[in-house]
Symmetry: C2
Subunit: 409 residues, 2 copies
């Protein structure tokens, strides 16, 4: 039997209502698995990867930089994949994500980029995202002003739904490649689709392994029901103002941005929801642990780790001994982190905080795909338990309308 | 009269208990200002900057990279200053902060750094921080193995308290420069001291202006009492599970990491406290706004902005019109962000969320220094109102002890 991509263990006293919640969660999970939502079919697809690969192949030799333009679900998944899976010191095009529309950062990028070898991937499901259109149009404007409009088609690729929109019009006007954003998958659930796959391919990430990992979770999805039930039982008991994802590895530190949107936007509605908080370990032991251990403590703490013992540079024994820090002598940095994640879990649990540990022996495309699908299922089931729709986001419209008014005024 | 470094305005209905809280907060603020704590004297100091400048001058020509080793309060302030104040595309040494002890990241850094032109600034108040010592010793080990131990003194500088500790022993053993960490200032309040000033000088940041801004706040500190009173009144009313600092500028996006430690570690104790949450705008409108507007809403939302109107690249009118997005035609990216921050504030307020806006017309050393001192005073006064000690962190010791046990076992 293949080793699991990740293990889950709990360090907590019993949570009232867990058994009942789990039963209900399993029912919702079963219903979700049978629901035919498009998310579930993504791991089995290949033709969309082939289409994305064509774009990558077309760009391969003459590309120094790829700027991914998109916001929210059009960017956070790709960012998570980059941090987790792009090889250290990899040769090849530099892929950067431009999600926040900061005028000074963007101006600096456009001024300093070598546009002859820079490509732009523009991602917007609706094709009408103001921030992304502003980026794409201002980038295209640089080409236009240089009299290079005819080359735009070699420098842009667009990912959007196959229906009339400003972005699709733009793509047609410049005649650049267009990849279809799945119509049945919202941005925050789209990382395994072409939305995450195109940037991943550009970064040399094994997208097939990513999807194989996701398929592994779909084949054995029950832990998603357990995770949702745990959250729900805590919420019902008034013990879930926040849920903390604490990653003990730099490679997992960006995954949280993706997960934060997934949790916040799927579940924060109808006066319900809990705030997803990202933490990084060990560093946040020196920043957030005081609050987590001794504050109100209405949170679940999920500590995410990988095998580190024996890895990394070591503190040389002789020098350590001479400084009076024998406890570090000959220990590697990985030994230290391994001890710290265990100590933090134990410390929180001793102080009555519910702790869940998720351990991924290896961080690779397969395990990351498995974990991402796990979090997506867990979120969907949590939404069902809470009685909210995990797929809509009605609360963001008001601000968009108001921003257009202010922009016009 | 000089323009204020930042303006504060509120968009919220009246908060029950605010007036009484404010009166009490003013008393605590007055007491703090008269307390003689070392933090208050930092803006008036110069000799410590001169000492730091000597280190910088000694390194100036032959330095490509400076790696700042430190964790928590020994790093987050410097990181905030880098993002906020280092000039885009600045020539000079690349200053990087290595706070999280990840074995794979650190190994990669040591393997790829050009050690001949790399310097290490090692910061630990106590001089006994395990993670930082591990970094320093493993870096020194590379020199030792190359038979270059005699050059260590040119490559390291140490910031620590003037008392016996492993780090001070290390500095003496290699004979490198040592700068005194103020004994009366904890890490999370140390950004304006040499702890932040040495990295700032290395990045070409005007430390005197930074301190002048802090002095400006000390001269007119009353807004810190108002901010603390607002938080406290909300907490008393059961409306402060979180407090959100939402920065509408890339340059202010790292300030939150510093502020999160300040708030969490100062106030999260005795079962009290609120979780500091960082958000970045406009990007988090596409990630967190749904939850912030429609979730439980037990939070204060502080929107932090700067002048952006008219700045940055624009969407060209002709192309915007041809795509059917006239509302963007001729608008700059700064116009869009300006409209969005106003719209977000209004949307949250309309939905009954308390909103505070802090607007810094200019992000420069003076305004950042003023704002940082404001947040420090606000936190101290909040601690006094809550009846907790804003200067201790008793909850982090247990995990340290346990980690040493696990490391030995």
């Amino acid at each position: 039997m293949a080793m699991a991509s990740f293990d889950i263990s709990l360090e907590l006293a019993s949570v009232a209502g867990y058994d009942a919640a789990l039963k209900e969660a399993q029912t919702h999970l079963d219903a979700t698995m049978k629901s035919g939502i498009e998310l579930l079919s993504i791991p089995g697809q290949t033709s969309d990867i082939d289409a994305a690969q064509k774009v990558v192949d077309g760009w391969c030799d003459k590309t120094s930089d790829v700027a991914v333009l998109g916001i929210g679900g059009s960017s956070l998944g790709g960012q998570a994949l980059k941090t987790a899976l792009e090889a250290f010191g990899r040769k090849g095009a530099r892929v950067s994500f431009h999600d926040n529309p900061d005028p000074f950062s963007w101006e600096h990028f456009l001024k300093t980029a070598d546009l002859k070898t820079t490509r732009f991937v523009v991602i917007s499901k609706s094709g009408g995202t103001a921030e992304t259109l502003m980026q794409a149009l201002s980038a295209a404007d640089v080409f236009d002003r240089l009299g290079a409009s005819q080359y735009l088609k070699y420098h842009f690729a667009v990912v959007t739904e196959p229906k009339d929109s400003p972005l699709l019009k733009f793509a047609r006007a410049i005649d650049c490649p267009v990849l279809d954003h799945p119509t049945g998958i919202g941005g925050r659930y789209s990382v395994l689709s072409v939305v995450g796959a195109l940037p991943a391919l550009l970064m040399g990430i094994d997208v097939k392994a990513l999807r194989a990992g996701a398929a592994e979770t779909l084949a054995e999805p029950s832990r998603a029901a357990e995770g949702a039930a745990l959250h729900f039982a805590l919420a019902q008991a008034g013990r879930l103002d926040q849920t903390v994802l604490w990653a003990y590895a730099d490679r997992l530190s960006t995954l949280q941005g993706w997960w934060r949107q997934l949790w916040a936007e799927s579940l924060g509605k109808d006066g319900k929801g809990s705030t997803p908080v990202g933490a990084v370990g060990p560093v946040d032991q020196h920043s957030q642990l005081q609050l987590f251990r001794d504050g109100p403590g209405k949170s679940l703490y999920t500590l995410l780790s990988t095998d580190m013992k024996g890895h990394g540079p070591a503190a040389p024994s002789k020098r350590a001994a001479s400084l009076g820090i024998d406890y570090l002598a000959g220990k590697t940095m990985g030994d230290l982190v391994d001890a710290e994640v265990r100590a933090t879990a134990k410390t929180l649990a001793r102080n009555g905080r519910p702790v869940r540990r998720i351990h991924m022996p290896t961080i690779d495309a397969r395990s990351v795909g498995a974990l991402m699908m796990h979090f997506m299922l867990e979120t969907i089931v949590m939404g069902r338990l809470m009685g909210v729709d995990p797929f809509d986001q009605p609360g963001v419209e008001e601000g968009k309308v108001l921003a257009r008014e202010y922009l016009a005024g």
